[in-house]
C-alpha cells in the first residue's frame, strides 16, 4: 500500500519545487505578484464599476460588456433621486440613526470593556460570554417578538426603535477588551498608585491610548448601522423617518406596472454606498489597527 503512495508524494514534491522556483525568480516574482493582484482585485471591483456605469445611463439595461460605456444621464439620475424622490431625506435619516448608534455603542461598550478588564467582577467569564453570545442572536432569530416589544413600548416608527436595540455590541466589547488587554499593566498599576478614579482613568488613560482603535471601531459600527435593512423596513412605516437602504425600493418604482428604473436604483445605490466607503478609505489606517487581534 505504501508503495503506491510514493507516486503522489513524489508529484507533490516536484510541484512544490516548481512553485517555489516560480515564486523565487526575482524580477518575475514582483511583476507576477502585481499581475495576480490586478486580476484578483479587478474581480472584486467589477461589480461596483457596473453599478456606477448603470447609474449614468438613461434606463440602465446593460446586457453586454460593450454596454458598459458610461452614459450621459448621471446628473439627471442623481438629481432625480435626491430631489424628486427626496432621497436626501432618507440619507439624512440614515446618518442620524448611524451616528446615534455609533456614539451610543461606543459609550456603552467602552464602559463595559473597562469593567471587564479593569474591575474585579464576579463570574467575569460568564458575563463576558453573556455579552459575546448575543452574536448568535441576529435580527432574523428574534425580529417578530422584538417587533411586538418595540410596539408595546410605544417606540414604533421612532428613532428610538432603530437605535436602542443596537446599543449593545458584542464585537465592539470584544475588540475593546482585546485592545485594553494590550495596554501594559504597568501603566495601569501606576495610574492606580497615583490614586486615579475610574472616570479619570477612562478619560485620561484609556481613551488617549485607544484613539486608533476607537476610530476603527466607530467605522465598523457606522458601516453596520448604515447598512441595516431588515429592521428599519419592518419598524418604520412613514417615509419621513425611513432610512436610505429601504428608500432604495422607492426608486425601484412599481415593477408590476412595468417601470424600468435600473439606472435610478443604481444611482441611489451609489449614493448609499458613498458615506461608508469614504469613511473606510479615509480612516483605513485606524481600521487596520483595530482589526489586529492581540494575542492573549
Amino acid at each position: 500500500m505504501a508503495g503506491i503512495l510514493q507516486y503522489p508524494k513524489r508529484w507533490i514534491r516536484t510541484t512544490r519545487r516548481r512553485t517555489d522556483a516560480f515564486f523565487s525568480t526575482a524580477g518575475i516574482e514582483r511583476i507576477g505578484v502585481h499581475v495576480q493582484l490586478v486580476v484578483l482585485v479587478s474581480l472584486v471591483l467589477f461589480p461596483i464599476v457596473v453599478a456606477a456605469v448603470v447609474s449614468t445611463k438613461g434606463v440602465g439595461i446593460v446586457t453586454s460588456v460593450s454596454d458598459l460605456l458610461p452614459g450621459s444621464y448621471a446628473a439627471e439620475n442623481y438629481r432625480e433621486a435626491l430631489v424628486d424622490y427626496n432621497f436626501g431625506r432618507f440619507m439624512l435619516n440614515s446618518l442620524v440613526m448611524s451616528v446615534v448608534i455609533v456614539v451610543g455603542k461606543l459609550a456603552v461598550s467602552v464602559l463595559a470593556a473597562m469593567a471587564i478588564v479593569y474591575y474585579r467582577v464576579p463570574y467575569k467569564d460568564l458575563v463576558f460570554l453573556f455579552i459575546l453570545f448575543t452574536l448568535m442572536l441576529p435580527v432574523p432569530v428574534r425580529f417578530v417578538p422584538l417587533f411586538q416589544l418595540i410596539n408595546d413600548l410605544g417606540w414604533g416608527n421612532t428613532l428610538l426603535a432603530i437605535t436602542v436595540p443596537y446599543i449593545a455590541s458584542a464585537t465592539t466589547v470584544f475588540i475593546l477588551r482585546q485592545h485594553f488587554l494590550s495596554i501594559p499593566s504597568s501603566i495601569v498599576e501606576n495610574a492606580k498608585i497615583d490614586g486615579i478614579g475610574p472616570v479619570k482613568f477612562m478619560l485620561y488613560v484609556l481613551i488617549p491610548m485607544s484613539k486608533g482603535v476607537l476610530v476603527g471601531v466607530s467605522i465598523i459600527m457606522f458601516v453596520f448601522a448604515w447598512n441595516q435593512y431588515l429592521w428599519p423596513l419592518i419598524i418604520i412605516d412613514s417615509q419621513a423617518n425611513q432610512v436610505a437602504q429601504v428608500g432604495l425600493a422607492l426608486l425601484e418604482g412599481d415593477v408590476q406596472s412595468g417601470e424600468l428604473a435600473w439606472a435610478l436604483v443604481m444611482a441611489g445605490s451609489m449614493l448609499t454606498l458613498l458615506p461608508p466607503l469614504l469613511l473606510m478609505i479615509v480612516f483605513r489606517k485606524p481600521l487596520l489597527n483595530t482589526f489586529s487581534i492581540q494575542q492573549k
Binding site: D84, W155, V164, K192, I234, L250, D254, Q256, S257, L260
Partner: protein, 461 residues
C-alpha cells in the same frame, strides 16, 4: 481628592465619580422609562372616546406600495384632494404589498393603524380574516354610486353583498408584440397569436429566422398561470376559487397539462426564456432589448413600454393567449384600498371623501393615462371614450376590451381568494420551474397540487 491607601486601590470610587456615574445612569434610565411611559400613554389614547384604534397622525395616512412614478402620481392625487377639501393626506410608501400587509397586521396588534391600506388582491383573504376591516360601502358617502364600478372588478371585491374594499389600480395581463420583428419574420402584426399554439408558431418563425433570440417571455408569477386557467374557464381552486367557501383543492384539469407541456416544449426548444421569479423588470428588459418578440405582462406597462421603445421599434398590445380556443376572460389583478374598523368615528367621513375622490372620473382618467392601470368606473371609461383616448391610444384599449369581453358570471374570472396566498403563490411559481425542467410533467403537476393542498390544509385547520 483623597488618595486611597492601598496600591491596588479600594473599591470606593471618589465621591464625585460616584455621583456623576449615578447621575448619568439615572438620566439614561429616566429618559428611557419616561419615553416608554409617554409612548404607552400616547399609544393607548385615541382621540375618540372608546375607539379601538388610534390614527397614526392628524392627517389621513394611506399606506401604499407604489414606488417610482406611480408613487409620485399618488402624491399628486393627495395634494389635489387637499386643495379641494382642505383635508391633508399623507401617502406613505411601504416598500411592497407584502410589507403593507405585515405592517398593517402588526398595526392591528399595536393599536396605531393607518386610515387606508393598499393591499394586493392576492392577499385579500388574509386582510378579511383579521375581522378588523370596515367595508368601504359603509364608508363611502351616501350619494356615491357603488354600482359605478365595472362588474368584474366590483365582483371580486364584493363580500357578502357589500363592496369591502375600493378597487383602485387594477389590471390584467396582456401580450405585447414587437411589430417590426413580426414583419421581419413574415408574421402579420395585426393578427397576433391568441392561443399557445399560435404563440409557438410565431416564436418558431421569429427564432428560426434569427429575428429575435427567443420568441416570448413573461415574469414567472402565479398571475399568469391564473390567467391561463381563467381564460379556459377553469378555477384554480375549488369552491369557485375560494369565493363560495373554503378552498381545499388545487384543481388540475386536462387543460393545465396541455399548458405545461407547451411551456416545457417552448423552454426546451429555446423559444421561451425564464427571466426569473417575479422578474417583471427583467422580462420587460428582454423585450425592450429585442431579445424576445413577445412579452406577457401587465396592462400597466403600456405607458412605460411605449416610452422605452420609442425610436427603437413599434410596440403593440394584443390579448393574453389562451390554452385552447375557449376564451372566457382574464382574472383581475392589482390592489384595492381597505379601511380598518375601529378608528375614531369622525375620521370615517374624511376617509369616505377621499375614497370617493379617488373613484372620481377625473381622477381615474388621469390615473389611467399616467399609469396604464385601467379605469374602473363606467363614467371614467365614458369620459375617456368621449375624448377619443382609446382610439388614439389603442394599446390602452386592449386590456379594457379583454376585460369587457369576459364572461363575468363565470367564477373562473374571479381571482383566487385564499388565506395562505403567498404560500400557494410561491408553490406554483417554484414548482412551475421544476415542471418545465423535469421529464415527467404529470408527476410534477401532481407534486404542485399536493403541496398547494398541504398549505391550504395547514392554514384552514
Amino acid at each position: 481628592m483623597p488618595a486611597s491607601d492601598s496600591p491596588l486601590g479600594n473599591a470606593d470610587m471618589s465621591d464625585d465619580t460616584r455621583r456623576s456615574v449615578l447621575r448619568g445612569a439615572a438620566t439614561l434610565l429616566g429618559a428611557g422609562s419616561m419615553t416608554a411611559l409617554a409612548g404607552c400613554a400616547g399609544g393607548g389614547d385615541g382621540s375618540g372616546g372608546d375607539s379601538q384604534f388610534s390614527p397614526i397622525a392628524e392627517e389621513l395616512t394611506v399606506w401604499h406600495a407604489m414606488g417610482g412614478e406611480n408613487g409620485e402620481t399618488l402624491n399628486q392625487i393627495a395634494s389635489d384632494f387637499e386643495d379641494e377639501t382642505g383635508t391633508a393626506v399623507n401617502m406613505e410608501f411601504q416598500d411592497s404589498y407584502e410589507n403593507v400587509l405585515t405592517n398593517t397586521l402588526a398595526a392591528f396588534d399595536s393599536g396605531n393603524v393607518s386610515d387606508m391600506l393598499q393591499v394586493d388582491s392576492l392577499f385579500a383573504q388574509q386582510v378579511l380574516d383579521t375581522g378588523q376591516i370596515r367595508s368601504v360601502e359603509e364608508i363611502l358617502p351616501d350619494d356615491f354610486d357603488a354600482d359605478a364600478f365595472l362588474d368584474n372588478v366590483a365582483d371580486f371585491f364584493t363580500i357578502d353583498g357589500e363592496l369591502s374594499s375600493m378597487p383602485f389600480n387594477n389590471s390584467n395581463a396582456i401580450m405585447y408584440i414587437n411589430r417590426d420583428a413580426f414583419e421581419e419574420a413574415g408574421l402579420d402584426p395585426d393578427d397576433p397569436p391568441t392561443t399557445i399554439e399560435g404563440v409557438r408558431a410565431a416564436s418558431e418563425a421569429l427564432v428560426n429566422q434569427d429575428v429575435t433570440e427567443f420568441g416570448i417571455t413573461w415574469p414567472n408569477h402565479v398571475w399568469f398561470v391564473e390567467h391561463f386557467y381563467s381564460f379556459e374557464g377553469e378555477t384554480m381552486l375549488n369552491n369557485e376559487n375560494g369565493h363560495s367557501g373554503t378552498p381545499t383543492e388545487f384543481r388540475t384539469p386536462d387543460a393545465v397539462y396541455d399548458l405545461y407541456e407547451w411551456w416545457k416544449g417552448m423552454s426546451d426548444d429555446e423559444l421561451y426564456t425564464n427571466p426569473g421569479i417575479e422578474a417583471w423588470g427583467e422580462a420587460t428588459s428582454l423585450f425592450v432589448e429585442e431579445r424576445v418578440g413577445m412579452l406577457m405582462t401587465s396592462t400597466g406597462s403600456a405607458g412605460g413600454l411605449i416610452a422605452d421603445t420609442e425610436g427603437v421599434f413599434d410596440v403593440d398590445a394584443s390579448p393574453h393567449p389562451s390554452i385552447s380556443d375557449t376564451r372566457v376572460g382574464p382574472v383581475i389583478g392589482g390592489a384595492s384600498f381597505y379601511v380598518p374598523d375601529g378608528l375614531p368615528e369622525e375620521r370615517y367621513e374624511d376617509i369616505g371623501q377621499l375614497l370617493a375622490f379617488m373613484a372620481d372620473p377625473a381622477v381615474q382618467v388621469d390615473w389611467h393615462k399616467q399609469t396604464g392601470y385601467y379605469p374602473i368606473t363606467e363614467s371614467s371609461i365614458e369620459e375617456l371614450e368621449s375624448e377619443n383616448w382609446f382610439e388614439e391610444n389603442p394599446m390602452y384599449a386592449t386590456a379594457l376590451e379583454q376585460l369587457q369581453a369576459a364572461e363575468t358570471d363565470n367564477p373562473a374570472t374571479s381571482r383566487i381568494l385564499v388565506g395562505p396566498a403567498r404560500a400557494v403563490q410561491t408553490t406554483v411559481q417554484n414548482k412551475s420551474v421544476e415542471i418545465i425542467n423535469s421529464d415527467d410533467i404529470a408527476s410534477g403537476i401532481e407534486a404542485m397540487k399536493q403541496q398547494a393542498e398541504e398549505e391550504l390544509d395547514s392554514y384552514y385547520n
